[in-house]
Symmetry: C2
Subunit: 150 residues, 2 copies
C-alpha cells in the first residue's frame, strides 16, 4: 500500500477550520479502503456525524482538492460521471480500469516519475496535479473474451 499523507494533521497545519463535519469527512476519506465518490463519502461520514449535508461534502472536497491534499479521479467514467477521491500519496501512481469487470488497479513505476520530470522540463510547466488513467481489459477478462470470441 502506498504511503498516504495524514489529512487531519495536515489540515490543522494549514489552518483549515476544523468543524465536526469536516473531521468526520476527513477521517472517512483517510480510512477508506476503496475510492469513494461523493455519495458514498456522505453515507459513510454520517456514521460518524449524522448531521452532514451533501453540500458540505462537496464544499469540503473542494477545499481539500485546492490544497492538494486529495486527488480527484474519473476512473474512466466506468460508472457514470461521478468523481472519486483518494488521499494524495507520496509517489504518483496511475489507475487501471477494466471495462469488463470494473476492477481498479493501481500501479507505480520509476518511468512515471521520469515522465513527470520530462513533462515539466521540456514544456516549462509547473505541475500541480497529474492524472493518468488507463482503460481496457484486465488479464482475466481479456482471456475470457479471447476464449469466447476467437
Amino acid at each position: 500500500m502506498l504511503k498516504r499523507h495524514d489529512l487531519l494533521q495536515e489540515a490543522a497545519q494549514q489552518g483549515i477550520r476544523l468543524t465536526a463535519q469536516r473531521r468526520a469527512l476527513i477521517e472517512t476519506i483517510q480510512e477508506a479502503k476503496s475510492h469513494l465518490d461523493a455519495e458514498s463519502l456522505l453515507q459513510l461520514a454520517r456514521k460518524r456525524d449524522a448531521n452532514i449535508d451533501r453540500a458540505t461534502v462537496y464544499r469540503t472536497l473542494d477545499v481539500l482538492k485546492r490544497r492538494g491534499m486529495i486527488d480527484e479521479l474519473d476512473l474512466m467514467h466506468l460508472n457514470g460521471e461521478k468523481h472519486y477521491y483518494e488521499v494524495k500519496t507520496q509517489k504518483d501512481h496511475l489507475h487501471l480500469a477494466c471495462f469488463e469487470c470494473g476492477k481498479i488497479e493501481e500501479f507505480t513505476t520509476p518511468t512515471f516519475e521520469k515522465l513527470k520530470r520530462e513533462i515539466a522540463d521540456k514544456n516549462d510547466f509547473s505541475i500541480q496535479v497529474m492524472r493518468l488513467e488507463v482503460g481496457g481489459l484486465c488479464g482475466k477478462c481479456a482471456a475470457r473474451k479471447e476464449a469466447s470470441t476467437g
Copy 2:
C-alpha cells in the same frame, strides 16, 4: 501537428451507417482546430446540416468512442464537467492544462510509449484507452504569479 486518422474513411470501412448528420458531425470533428465539447460540436455541425439534434451528437460520439476512432478528454475539468473530443492520433500524447489561463498544450515523448508498454506488461492488462492529463501553471502564468506573490 500529430498525424490523425481519417474518420470518414475509417467509418465507411468499419461499416458505420453514414447518415447526413453523421457525415456533418464527423467532418466537423475531423477539421476542428481545438478540442470540441458536445455543445460546440453541435453548433459547428449545424452549419453543415441544420437538422442535427443534441441527442444525435451524443449518440454519434458514443459510436466513435466505442470504435476507438476518437478520444474523450476531461482537460482537468477546467470549464465544468463537460467532455472534449479529438480524433485519435497515431502516437499517444498527453494534455497539459494551465489552471490560470486555461491554455491546453499537447506533448509526446518516447517515455510515454515506454510507460505504456510497461503498464501492459507488468500488470497483464490489455490497454484500450490511455488518458494522461496534467494540471498546473504554464511558464508564463507561473512567472507572473512568482512576481506578484514572492
